[in-house]
Amino acid sequence: MPLVSYISLSAVLFVIGVMGVLLKRNVLTIFMSIELMLNAVNVALAAFARHHGGLDGQIFVFFVMAVAAAEAAVGLAIFIAIFRLKQTTDVTEINLMRW
């Protein structure tokens, strides 16, 4: 596939992820949508790396994966802590810090 197809696919996946974050109310699904967005960016990085014939883009993908793993571990731990406090995964119920 040419470069444009890969970047278009990346844009589609990213927008789907954004819509997931904006539309869903389950904390876990919102978190999965964030993973979708990170993956969309990874596709773009790998495609541009191939386009330029260098490997630096692939190294970036590697680092994005490392950050995503760290983020998933901490984020899910926060959800467990919140669930213990509020007994819910619905973001509209988690409003302690609401002004």
Binding site: A11, I16, G17, V18, M19, N42, A46, L76, T88
Partner: protein, 172 residues
């Protein structure tokens, strides 16, 4: 059509379908399983882009480690499937969709400018994206970021344990 193109097109369709399903499903478990399908198709896309090492890491780290963590937490919390598919009423949901379409249009405007600027793939050698070549770059030019990523993962691990730990009685 070459085998690469067929593989990439199929993986693209699977990726978009599974991404839509992640957002559409009400049950978190089904969403998580569709996310695994999405990560798998992205791994195939990495393969068509010459990133064999990346594809392996994608399956091992994402589908293997992160998604298992997700499913673990979902089973631990056991949330009931929500009655409403989306968080807001029809008006706000419609507006959000409109915003998404606008966002997508502005992204595609940038992407389309690529098409004019000669968006062809460079020809690469046999060793492109192999574990050896990626590893050599990782341990020379990107040594410090690599070590930093290790520290980040350690901090995240400690943080996750501290956050998720149940406080023992009599302990402040």
């Amino acid at each position: 059509m070459s085998l690469d193109t067929i593989l990439a097109s199929g993986a693209s369709i699977a990726a978009i379908f599974s991404a839509l399903m992640v957002v559409w499903q009400r049950s978190a478990v089904i969403s998580a399983l569709f996310l695994v399908l999405n990560l798998g198709s992205v791994a195939i896309l990495f393969l068509t882009l010459g990133g064999e090492f990346l594809a392996a890491v994608q399956v091992l780290v994402y589908a293997g480690a992160i998604m298992v963590l997700f499913l673990f937490v979902i089973m631990l919390l056991n949330p009931a499937p929500l009655k409403e598919r989306f968080a807001s009423g029809p008006v706000v949901t419609g507006l959000t969709f409109a915003l998404g379409v606008l966002f997508f249009a502005s992204l595609m405007r940038g992407v389309m400018s690529l098409a004019g600027a000669g968006g062809t793939m460079a020809s690469v050698g046999e060793s492109y994206g192999s574990t050896r070549s990626v590893g050599e770059l990782l341990f020379t030019a990107y040594l410090y970021p690599f070590e930093l990523a290790g520290v980040l993962l350690l901090v995240a691990m400690v943080g996750a344990v501290v956050l998720a730990r149940r406080q023992a009685p009599g302990e402040d």
